[in-house]
């Protein structure tokens, strides 16, 4: 207990007295933690973008003759038996017309030509939503052999196909580059922090040797350095957290204009503790671990 007190005290004094070096360490740790927090928020943003893109995609099958209610039910049942299908929506001729007039109310030419045609030129349809953009191809090939194939006049998948495939390749490449970039940046950040601590301790190498020579046990030498790592890490976390809180509070409305519905600030503050934990793990963990490794080298005497 008494040695623990001494280690903490000695660590604190060392931190205070080498204030220049301590500040440099904190600065680097702030950068590292910021980077890791940014990656965390970026992950959320890219996930949001991917889901909202995927949700915009659907396909529809059009029927030449309006099917009877029983037919509709059996078609829907058959489609639902596919594991790829997430959602189905039947749109009757009347509903299609309603939606069409709703959408083009203000466009006179279209409304006039609709009146010219007379009656209801639109077809009844079923809108299909899959879980993922990649699954529409499978659904489409199922439709080619479906029992209700004769009822279908048109599947709009073939027109939408290029768009769907583009979205599919985008989302997967966003995911892959996101992961690779995150790993690379995280490694760079960790190495940077580790190197800073290593240089700080390199300055104390003679001191460590002297401590060994006057009979200090290894953990009595290591302890204060690790305490310094913890202090630097904790302060860095505090600074980063404040910077991010303020930054997100101010920037979030602006980001909301570019990507509506993202809710970054709500996400940040509802995950307050998770983020704090990630930052603490990064800051304090890095502080302790890199001191531990860096001191080890000089304990050989």
């Amino acid at each position: 207990m008494i040695t623990f007190k001494r280690i903490v005290k000695s660590g604190w004094l060392g931190f205070k007295r080498n204030s220049g070096l301590s500040l440099a360490t904190i600065f680097i740790l702030v950068m590292t933690i910021s980077l890791i927090t940014s990656l965390f928020l970026l992950q959320k943003t890219s996930n949001f973008l991917i889901t909202s893109l995927t949700e915009k995609v659907d396909m529809a099958i059009y029927f030449s003759v309006e099917p009877s209610t029983e037919e509709i039910i059996s078609i829907q049942e058959e489609l639902f038996s596919l594991s790829e299908v997430k959602n189905l929506e039947y749109v009757s001729k009347e509903e299609a017309l309603e939606k069409f007039t709703e959408r083009h109310r203000s466009e006179e030419i279209i409304m006039e030509s609709l009146a010219e045609v007379g009656g209801n030129p639109l077809l009844s349809s079923i809108n299909i939503k899959a879980f993922e953009a990649s699954q529409y191809a499978a659904i489409s090939s199922f439709l080619d052999n479906a029992s209700f194939r004769d009822l279908i006049t048109k599947v709009d998948y073939y027109q939408k196909r290029p768009a769907i495939e583009k979205i599919f390749s985008w989302t997967s490449s966003i995911n892959v580059t996101g992961i690779i970039l995150s790993i690379v940046l995280a490694v760079v950040a960790v190495l940077m922090a580790f190197n800073t601590v290593r240089i700080a301790i390199y300055n104390s190498r003679d001191e460590i040797e002297t401590m060994r020579l006057v009979g200090a046990a290894n953990w009595f030498i290591r302890g204060p350095f690790m305490v310094q790592g913890v202090i630097a890490g904790a302060l860095a976390v505090l600074i980063t957290f404040l910077v991010f809180s303020v930054g997100i509070l101010f920037l979030s409305p602006k980001i909301e204009i570019i990507i509506p519905g993202l809710g970054l600030s709500a996400y940040f503050f509802s995950n307050f503790f998770v983020i704090l934990l990630i930052q603490l793990a990064a800051g304090v963990g890095l502080g302790i671990l890199s001191s531990w490794i860096a001191v080890r080298k000089y304990l050989k005497i």
């Binding site: 002297t210 060994r212 009979g215 200090a216 290894n218």
Partner: protein, 229 residues
């Protein structure tokens, strides 16, 4: 108490290996005051480094109270070193600690109670005349003051043996006499002292055992010797 048996030390750096010690054997008994003299480069400091297990010998072994010093495991070294007080030639004070903290550090390392530390450290600082420098950092001290701080650190935990490597190198004649008087007094109280020096006056005044090294070899080992090179 201490036995050097056929100790050799060869440094391999550069093109030509340098022989610092060549087949050196001698014994130091408890309560003895032994001076090791010789020109600089004669191997005095190397001898002390080997005894402290700071370096390993190229050949031979050193026994401290029957234990081979270089067979002590790394975990056991701290305990072994706590029995030895060392005044290093380059002082080796901890730069980020004050004089007081430097002296107290040895006791903290040993787990001595706070009360004992706060009563002993001022006493020892008073003995070496550094009471008014207690809160200064090593870089704020003069060479002589650093040397006396190093001495205080070597004494504070009442070690069985004190190794003093040129402890008067930076002192004026007045302080030199004081330090030697102090070492003699500590020796009379039962502490073994090994003093490495090239100060002729000290040796002549001491009238104790002198081992003379030259180019890594013992050329003389005499009781109550006078300094001759």
């Amino acid at each position: 108490m201490i036995s050097f048996q056929k100790i050799s030390k060869i440094y391999h750096s550069g093109l030509k290996p340098i022989t610092a010690l060549d087949n050196v054997s001698f014994e130091v008994n408890s309560h003895e005051f032994v001076s090791i003299v010789g020109r600089s480069g004669a191997g005095k400091t190397t001898l002390l480094k080997l005894l402290l297990a700071e370096e390993r010998p190229s050949g031979g072994s050193i026994f401290f109270e029957g234990q081979d010093v270089h067979k002590i495991k790394p975990e056991g070294l701290p305990n072994f070193r706590r029995q030895i007080g060392v005044i290093f030639q380059d002082y080796k004070l901890l730069p980020s600690k004050t004089t007081y903290e430097n002296v107290a550090y040895v006791m903290e390392v040993m787990g001595v109670a706070d009360e004992e530390i706060s009563s002993d450290v001022p006493k020892v600082l008073d003995i070496v005349g550094l009471s008014d420098r207690a809160q200064n950092f090593p870089e704020e001290l003069s060479g002589g003051e650093r040397q006396r701080a190093a001495l205080a650190r070597a004494l504070i935990h009442r070690p069985q043996i004190i190794l003093a490597d040129e402890p008067t190198g930076n002192l004026d004649p007045y302080h030199t006499r004081e330090i030697i008087r102090l070492l003699t007094k500590i020796n009379e109280m039962g502490t073994t002292i090994i003093l490495a020096t090239h100060n002729q006056q000290i040796i002549n005044a001491l009238e104790r055992r002198v081992i003379t090294l030259d180019e890594g070899k013992i050329i003389r080992d005499e009781e109550r010797s006078r300094f001759t090179l």
